[in-house]
Point group: C2
Chain length 432, copies 2
C-alpha cells in the first residue's frame, strides 16, 4: 500500500462522479466541492499552504455540462454574489479525485469524504453521487464477496439457469414451526432459494434461533431425502454479537446463507461479518428509497453497491422489471448489470455478485430480464408468481424454469407455452 505523499501522482487516486445542479458558474461549483471535501474550508485558513494543497487537495478531473433547469430541484441553495436574476441553473457531471493519502483504503472514511457534507453545500440545489472508482489497493484491506456467482451456484447446485427463489410470506406472524412447514412446502415445490422477509428477524413471537433451527432441520431432511438443498437466507440482522452468533448457528445447522439488511447494520459490521462468514451473505437494501427516490440527492445504486461488494456481500436486491415499486425498468437493469461488472481490472479480484430480482415477478418478465442482463447469473425471486399459480407452487416453479429455458433457447414465451402446460397457465394467470 502506498503511503503518504507519494500518492499525489500515483495511479491510485480515488474517483467519484456526481450529478450537480447549481446557479454558480460550473467551474466554481466544482472547485467548492473539491475544496470542501479536502483541504479547504469556507474561509481559507493559515495552514492551508500551497504545498499542502499540492499534495492533499481533491482535483476536478472532469466537468461536463448537461443543460439548464427552470427551477431549483431542492430548496435552500444559494446564489453567487452579484448574481443577476432570473436565475440560470445548470446541471453537470463532475468527477473529483482524492489522493489515497487523505483517507487511506477505508470504506467508512471514503464514505465520509465522497458522500459526506457535500450534499448540503449551499451552492447546490441538487447533488447526487453517481459512481466511485477505487484503486485495487482497497483489496488489501477488504475481501469482497466470498461466494459470488460461482459460489452461489455451487451451494445451490443450480447451473445453466438462474437460481429460482421466493420470500417467506406472510412476512411476520408465523411461528417457527409454521415457518418451517411453509419452507417444506416451498422446497417440495422445487424452489432453489428461500429467504426470510426483512421484517422477520428475531421478534419474540418468532425468535431467530428457533426459526432458523426449525427451517434448517426441515431443509436437511429434504436434502437427505432428495439430494437437493435449497439455500435459505436466514435474516440475521441485529447487533454484532447477535449476527455472529446467528451466523454460527446457521453454519452449524447446515445452512448456506445469511441475510442482512445493509442500511440497518452499516459497512464495518458487514466487514466484520464477512471476515467471520462461512456461508454466503445475502444483502437486502431495504431503506434504499431514501437514497434513490429523489433525482437530486442521495446516491445511485451503481455507487452504493460498490461499497457493499467490497465489504463482502454475495447477493444484492435490484428490484425487477415492471415491479410494484417506483423504480423504472432501465434503473433496475443498470443496477443488475453493475453487480456483474468487475470492480477491478484483471488480475485483481473482480468482486462480482449475484443480482436478486424480485417484486411482482413471474414468467412474464423472464425474456426481457435475460435480454437486458445478457446473463443467467441471477436469483429470480417470485412470490405470487409461484404460490398463486393455478396448478400449485410446483407448477409455479416449473413455469419459471420453462420461461428461462425458452429465453435461453431464443424461443418466444407464447411459442414455448404451447407445449408447456405450467408456463401456459402462468401466462394466463399472471396476464398484465
Amino acid at each position: 500500500m502506498n503511503t503518504g505523499r507519494n500518492d499525489q501522482t500515483a495511479p491510485d487516486r480515488i474517483k467519484a462522479r456526481y450529478w450537480i445542479e447549481t446557479a454558480y458558474p460550473l467551474e466554481d461549483a466544482a472547485a467548492i466541492m473539491a475544496g470542501e471535501q479536502s483541504t479547504g474550508t469556507f474561509v481559507r485558513v493559515p495552514g492551508e499552504t500551497d504545498e499542502l494543497r499540492q499534495w492533499h487537495a481533491a482535483h476536478v478531473e472532469e466537468l461536463v455540462e448537461l443543460g439548464t433547469v427552470d427551477a431549483p430541484s431542492l430548496t435552500g441553495s444559494g446564489l453567487p454574489k452579484g448574481y443577476n436574476l432570473p436565475a440560470v441553473r445548470r446541471t453537470a457531471e463532475v468527477v473529483l479525485s482524492w489522493p489515497l493519502a487523505n483517507m487511506g483504503a477505508s470504506l467508512p472514511n471514503l464514505l465520509a469524504t465522497a458522500a459526506g457534507n457535500l450534499f448540503e453545500l449551499k451552492p447546490f440545489s441538487g447533488l447526487k453521487l453517481l459512481d466511485v472508482t477505487l484503486p485495487p489497493v482497497f483489496l488489501d484491506a477488504y475481501q469482497g464477496p466470498q461466494f459470488g456467482v460461482d459460489g452461489t451456484r455451487r451451494l445451490t447446485a443450480v447451473y445453466g439457469r438462474p437460481v429460482i427463489g421466493t420470500i417467506i410470506k406472510p412476512s411476520v406472524g408465523m411461528t417457527p414451526e409454521q415457518t418451517a412447514a411453509h419452507v417444506r412446502m416451498l422446497a417440495e415445490a422445487g424452489v432453489d432459494f428461500i429467504k426470510d422477509d426483512e421484517l422477520q428477524a428475531d421478534g419474540p413471537h418468532c425468535p431467530f434461533e428457533q426459526r432458523a433451527t426449525a427451517v434448517l432441520q426441515t431443509l436437511n431432511d429434504f436434502a437427505n431425502r432428495t439430494g437437493k438443498r435449497p439455500m435459505y437466507a436466514a435474516n440475521i440482522t441485529g447487533e454484532i454479537d447477535q449476527m455472529l452468533r446467528r451466523h454460527d448457528l446457521v453454519a452449524a445447522a447446515g445452512g448456506t446463507c445469511v441475510m442482512v439488511s445493509l442500511n440497518s447494520v452499516g459497512l464495518p459490521a458487514m466487514n466484520m461479518l464477512r471476515r467471520h462468514a462461512q456461508v454466503a451473505i445475502h444483502g437486502h437494501r431495504n431503506g434504499w428509497g431514501m437514497f434513490s427516490r429523489s433525482h437530486a440527492t442521495g446516491m445511485s445504486f451503481i455507487a452504493y453497491q460498490k461499497f457493499w461488494r467490497l465489504a463482502g456481500i454475495d447477493h444484492v436486491h435490484v428490484n425487477g422489471l415492471r415491479n410494484k415499486f417506483c423504480e423504472e425498468d432501465s434503473s433496475v437493469m443498470a443496477s443488475a448489470r453493475a453487480c456483474l461488472t468487475p470492480m477491478f481490472p484483471a488480475p485483481h479480484k473482480p468482486c462480482t455478485i449475484v443480482p436478486v430480482f424480485s417484486s411482482g415477478q413471474s414468467a412474464r418478465q423472464v425474456h426481457d430480464t435475460y435480454s437486458g442482463l445478457g446473463s443467467m447469473d441471477l436469483i429470480y425471486a417470485c412470490g405470487g408468481g409461484i404460490l398463486a399459480h393455478p396448478m400449485g407452487p410446483a407448477a409455479g416453479v416449473r413455469s419459471l424454469q420453462q420461461a428461462w429455458e425458452a429465453a435461453a433457447s431464443g424461443i418466444a414465451l407464447r411459442d414455448y407455452a404451447t407445449n408447456h402446460t405450467e408456463l401456459r397457465e402462468a401466462l394466463e394467470a399472471f396476464a398484465g
Copy 2:
C-alpha cells in the same frame, strides 16, 4: 420485556409518524403502508389469516390531511385504478404502530420496518419519516448516552455557559506533529473542545495513532500546566476492531472523547462501541444531507437522532443558525431542541444529548441560539469565529464567552460590546 402475542394490546407498541403525498385515497394509502410493513404483501397470501393480522398487523393510529399539491414531488409513483385525471395529490401525516412482537427491541430491525421498503411504495410521490416513539423496553436492550450533558460538563469542567469548541483546519494535510502544534495553539487560546474534521481519520499521511498520541500528549502537558483539559474528539471512524483499538488508545492517553461518523459506521457498530466506551462519543452526521435534502423522501432529524441517542452517542451535530449549508434556521433549532428533549418519560433514562452547533458561527448568532434553544447545554463550535478574530484566537474565544455572558444576562450584544473589546472586534470583523 413482553413477549409474543400479549404485545398487541400492550402500551409498548412502536409508533412512527410520516409525511406522505399520494394520489390514492388517504385511508387506502395509509392502509397500504401498514400492510406492506407488517403482515401484508402485494397479493394476499393464504397464510395471512385474520388471527395473524389481529396480532401482528401494523395499525394506522392517526391520519391528518394537510393539503394538495399540483405536481408529484417525486417521479415513478402510480395512480389508483379508475383514477380520473387531472390528478389530485394530497399530503397528510400518518402515524403507524407495530406490536413489539414483530421485531423486538432492536434498532437495526426497527429501522428495516419503519424506514425500509416503504419509501419505494408505488402509491407515494412523497414519503418521509418524521418521528419515532419507542417504548421504554428499548432501554433494556440499549444503554443510551453514557455522558450526555452532565458528563460532558464534568469532563470539560465548563459550567454555566456552553462548551466553546472548534474544528482542526485544514481538514487534511497536516502531519501528526503539525496537528498537535495547532491543538496547542487552540488550547492556549482557551478553547474547551477541539475536534478532528470528519475527513481526517487514519490516512497514511496522518495515521490515527500518531496523531492522537501527539495531540493528547500536548493536551496532557497543557492540563498539567494550567489545570484545564480541553476535550479532544479524536475521529476513530473505521472498522470495528480499529475503532475499539483507537478508543482504547484515547482512553489510555488521558483523552475524554472519540468522534464517529454515524452514517459511515451504522447502528450496531455504535452500540458495540458504546458498550466498550470509557469516554464520550461525539456523533458526526456527515452524509445527513442524503436523508434530509429532499422534503419528499428520507427522514427528519427528529427521528434520526433518536436511533443514535439510544445506541449511545453523547453529542451530535445540528448545524448552526445562519449556517453556510442549505439548512434553514427553524430546522436547526428544532434539531437542537430534540437533542435536549427526553426520549422516555421519568423515571426512565431521558437519553438527552448535547447538540453541537457549527458552520459559520461567531458571536453574532449567540443571542438567537440561546433564545431559540432556551438552554446553555450545547457545544458552540466556531472555526473562523475564533481563528480569524483580528486580535487572535484567544480574543476569538473571549468574544464568544462574552457573547454568551451577555445572552445569559439578557443584555443586547451591541450594549455588552461597548465595554468588551474582544466582542466588539468580533462584531466588526464578522459583520454580515
